[in-house]
């Protein structure tokens, strides 16, 4: 989907978003009030520069617009794969970005992300999964790694992984697996101003402050161990 079509569909009342090096930053108007819009496009591989640009946009919002929600548009193929990037501790810049999202939450900024094309591993962790609520468009790709690469690394036959993926959200790439496991709140058939507004209104009441993903994953039958294990740790003598 073209960026402008996506923005028009989500923010029919208006948006001002600029793109620099696959990074979006700007503002938009919603029925729930003004929001900061930020994120990545064209399958961006998250680099130091992208992480820092997003982090700066979050910090600016906290500084200049107390309480204004953050709407992340996620399209990332993962982290930048380069020696140069790793030399300067890329995990540190991604952690900084994640910490900025977390600070925004603590300072009263609701946050949502919408995966519109793809979301992969480290790039997804650093902001798409750090928000109060993550959503995805129906045709979005969400994964750690595709099954062919997974077969190569784990030395398990691709056919066997395909078979397992067909009945277990643990292996199967795709937004629906993440929905069943509680990490994606809901899948949207199409970008929708109405659905976004509903999400923002709910979050404005504090719905996203606690991390409920395990409980949701259990209720949806996609992740049936984690919630019990965590509860057992809390109850252990």
């Amino acid at each position: 989907m073209k960026l402008n079509n996506l923005l028009d569909a989500l923010f029919p009342a208006g948006h001002t978003v600029t793109v620099t090096d696959q990074t979006l930053t700007g503002t938009a108007t919603t029925a729930a009030g003004p929001v900061t819009v930020l994120g990545t496009m064209d399958g961006a591989a998250i680099s130091h520069d992208i992480a820092l640009r997003l982090a700066d946009c979050i910090l600016q919002t906290i500084e200049s617009a107390p309480g204004r929600p953050l709407v992340f548009l996620v399209d990332t193929s993962g982290q930048a794969l380069s020696r140069q990037q790793e030399l300067l501790c890329l995990n540190g810049s991604l952690a900084h970005l994640a910490q900025c999202v977390d600070l925004a939450r603590r300072q009263g900024h609701a946050s949502v992300s919408l995966v519109n094309e793809q979301a992969v591993s480290g790039g997804f962790l650093s902001f798409g999964l750090m928000v109060d609520r993550t959503y995805a468009l129906a045709d979005a790709q969400v994964r750690v790694m595709d099954l062919k690469a997974m077969a190569r690394v784990t030395k398990i036959a691709h056919e066997r992984l395909m078979e397992l993926a067909s009945n277990s959200p643990i292996f199967a790439p795709g937004a629906e697996s993440y929905r069943r496991m509680g990490a994606i709140e809901a899948i949207w058939e199409a970008p929708s101003a109405q659905l976004l507004e509903t999400a923002l209104v709910e979050l404005a009441k504090g719905a996203g402050l606690a991390d409920q993903r395990m409980t949701v994953g259990l209720a949806r039958g996609g992740r049936y161990l984690a919630a019990d294990v965590t509860a057992a740790v809390l109850a252990a003598d």
Binding site: S82, E86, L87, T230
Partner: protein
Amino acid sequence: MNATNGFTPGHSYFEATARQRLQQILDAGSFREFLAPETVEVSPHLAALDLPGAFDDGVIIGAASLGGRRVLVAAQEGRFMGGSVGEIHGAKIVGLLRRAVAERPDAVLLLVDSGGVRLHEANAGLIAISEIMRAVLTVRAAGVPVLALVGGSCGAFGGMGIVAKLCSAILISEEGRLALSGPEVIETVMGVEEFDSKDRALVWRVTGGKHRYLMGDCAELVEDDSAAFRLGALEYLDTHGEPEPSLFTLRAVQQHLSDRMVRFGAYRDGLEVWADLGVAQPQQVPLLDRDSLVALKKGLPA
């Protein structure tokens, strides 16, 4: 054996198993395990792939004392599936961190030894790491410091590299490695010219403990000895509180990271970075012992 730097060398941290590390670092006899073997299921996801699991799913969690302080601790076992985070493994760490929010111990120690997500449980592992990330920050916001100790054979990579950097501080040994993508992954995708993962010296110059310490990405460099990790953790807790999360702090980090991109962003080897930092003989850095390297860092221009 001579005592150096206030600790008596005894056990290589790198060589030890996760259970041995706990015995060696914590106050003797103080460790009380949560979800001991047989009280929790062995990963059914691995069984579905026809693989034997481990009783603790590769991470040991519990309560202990450290120099008399109450701590909660998790130790990943790098020898079991690369210390990777699967559903049970991740949920144990999340549970420990949530318990820390409720109990407010003096600190949480994460003995990280992990390549990140367990690909055999890929989606569950990724989500678990996201939950760990949020939980670490919640523990810190409750005023409880979270220390990452990195010195095992798997280092801290992938999502666990991000988790380590979300902690209050990282203590690392020269043998420890900290990064996002493993050199093997970069080599496989981008080619051997980009990163030759078999060039061990290069891998250490890019991801190793000395480089991370010189750059300030890790708070302390310690000897590869469990007693040194113990002492390092005690010294850190003696001298640092856990500040409230603040805009001021993250603005300062933002400035620091941006400045260093400008200054070092074009380099591809630790040798170039160290020269720019003012190290007169950067090629000597890999040969320096821990104390000499710490002295060298303290003497660098601010």
